[in-house]
């Protein structure tokens, strides 16, 4: 892979970017973010939150209703996809069924009029990077899902983009392969020094991969930060619920979140204690769900060893507690 000279930083920035469909659908509402050069960014959110629209606007496959997208101090708004310095990897991979793996990877070079021997050489170098040289003569439909994804990656990288845009790249793979390809993506990003913008609805994926997570909800950015920030310091109720692993509960006029692995269960001290409703063994941890007298359902995630010392059964009474330092105050997410 060609290591890029960092003289001019390939910073991608979006400023107040909006996307309207028709008059009344607002898919993306004033998206403002700066993505550092060679970072791995995940656009995270439930389906319909506007993350894919945002990605497609960066790629140039969707018009920008208002706002500005810049890369290397150039405005991308009106540029065609191939002139932006971005490359997109499509959700279904979109490999050309009538072309061999080698010709698929070399397609972008062919469109630029680069002659066959040169483009085959460069395509082979990229196939080598994703460990697919031995299948270069195959057609895409003769490959497995994981192999197709590697080819799609090689094809996107062949034009040496500054930013690689990935639309739900792992969603078509089975769970085992997903975890393997996840590591592969991270390795490729670090080796190439290209900024990856990866759209996903899986918080696991975002936590495992991203230098920076941008969590979207209902066309807006709900919270952006490092994976640790989003998981450990959720700003709103939506973030805490979406990232998971939190008990969200009302406290007076406020709403607070406490991580399930910071919950403690103690022997019952009185009748106003919570009652165990469900015990789920997950291997390393055991999730014990308890119902408080006020109706709130809380989950305590206990280490396997801790649970063995003091097992809980459905119907037991338990005193639930947590440290003050583990409490996170949340902004209430108002329905829009």
């Amino acid at each position: 892979m060609v290591q890029r000279a960092m003289t001019e930083a390939a910073t991608l920035s979006l400023d107040g970017v909006c996307k309207h469909y028709g008059d009344d659908v607002l898919a993306v509402d004033h998206f403002t973010q700066r993505f550092e050069p060679s970072s791995y960014v995940c656009l995270l959110g439930p389906s319909g939150c506007g993350k894919t629209s945002t990605l497609r606007m960066i790629a140039g496959h969707e018009d920008i209703s208002s706002g500005e997208i810049r890369l290397r101090d150039r405005t991308l708004n009106r540029l065609p996809p191939a002139k932006r310095g971005t490359a997109m990897m499509f959700q279904s991979y979109a490999l050309f069924p009538h072309l061999s793996v080698l010709d698929n990877v070399g397609f972008g070079l062919r469109m630029r009029g680069i002659d066959k021997s040169e483009r085959d050489k460069r395509a082979m170098a990229l196939l080598d990077l994703v460990d697919m040289t031995h299948l270069s003569a195959r057609r895409p439909q003769q490959l497995s899902g994981g192999q197709q994804q590697r080819v799609a990656l090689a094809r996107a990288l062949v034009t040496e983009p500054d930013v690689l845009l990935l639309d739900e790249p792992l969603s078509a793979l089975d769970p085992f392969l997903r975890i393997r390809m996840r590591a592969e993506l991270r390795r490729l990003q670090q080796e190439s020094g290209i900024t990856f913008v990866h759209v996903t609805h899986s918080q696991d994926e975002a936590l495992a991969l991203a230098d920076r997570v941008v969590l979207m909800n209902a066309a807006r950015i709900e919270q952006a930060g490092t994976a640790q920030e989003l998981f450990d310091h959720p700003r709103t109720e939506f973030v805490a619920r979406f990232m998971g692993g939190h008990n969200v509960m009302p406290l007076g006029d406020n709403v607070i979140a406490v991580r399930t692995d910071r919950m403690r269960l103690g022997d019952s001290t009185g009748a106003d204690d919570a009652r165990v409703e469900q015990v789920e063994y997950l291997g390393r941890t055991v999730e014990v769900s308890v119902r408080r007298p006020d109706g709130a359902l809380l989950t305590a995630s206990l280490e396997d060893s801790r649970f063995s010392q003091r097992p809980w059964n459905v119907g037991d009474l338990a005193a639930v507690s947590w440290k003050e330092s583990d409490v996170r105050q949340l902004e209430v997410t108002h329905p829009q």
Binding site: A59, G60, H61, P80, P81, A82, A87, M88, F90, Q91, S92, A94, L95, F96, P97, H98, F107, G108, R110, M111, R112, R155, A156, T159
Partner: protein, 308 residues
Amino acid sequence: MSASIDTPAAAGRPAAAVPGKRPRGRLSENLLGWLLATPFVAVLAVFLLLPIALIFVVSFWETSAYSYGPAFILDNYGYLLTSSVTLSVYVKTLMFTALTWAITLLIGFTVAWFLAFHVRSLGVQISLFLLCTIPFWTSNIIRMISWIPFLGRNGIANSVLLDLGVIDAPLEWLLFSDFAVILAFVHLYTLFMIVPIFNTMMRIDRSLIEAARDAGASGFQVLRHVVLPLTLPGIMIGSIFVVTLVMGDFITVRFMSGGQSASVGRTIANEIALLQYPAASANAVILLVTVLLMVGVLMRFVDIRKEL
């Protein structure tokens, strides 16, 4: 065929899950497959294979001035294959076919491309597509005859051109000419090109177009390197329709050329009119072989089973 019948039958029969009983179940499923195929095979045998076999047999019969009867002679073929008329008629028919094919392909591809890729809303797409089929609500003959008042010596086309001062005298070649024949063919058969091409184009994954754009392909490059190769099966199916229809036609050539042009179909029709059944049969067999060869060549470009 049998595979599509196997599946529901197996699903409906729990005994198939018992390993030991499997072979007997298979056998009856195969039998069921054959039984289900029988009516269709019977229809094809009676209405397709039998007539062709009869034509083949009759093509070896003998004729005299006033009668024909069973025999096994090769005279019919001998005359056909040595006559210079046969050659010129075939050349003419192939010329009609080639020109009609080229023009219907050009129009068909363009219309299908427009419908499939430039009309965004499905509603408009369907209504425009139905619009293309409206001429087919009337019969072939009516559609053909309606050209006559338009193209005739004092027809609409000539009078408009005269009034506009584009020409001084009526154009003679508009009607009863090869031009008129090809015009009618194109009018009659373009839809047979549009439908299969449109069908294959609609099945092209739109993200492929975006991927090509992303890789820097211009509009023409997308057409040349993505849409055209992926539409090839539809083009071939449309070509088979148009080629077989034009090769076998006799009525369009007679009406639109005013009897001045010949085609293989017209030759056969004339021979039948003169009760020269053996000669007509021999002619039909040669035509059938020719068309089958042409279709065979076209089929080499496309796996038709995959497309249907």
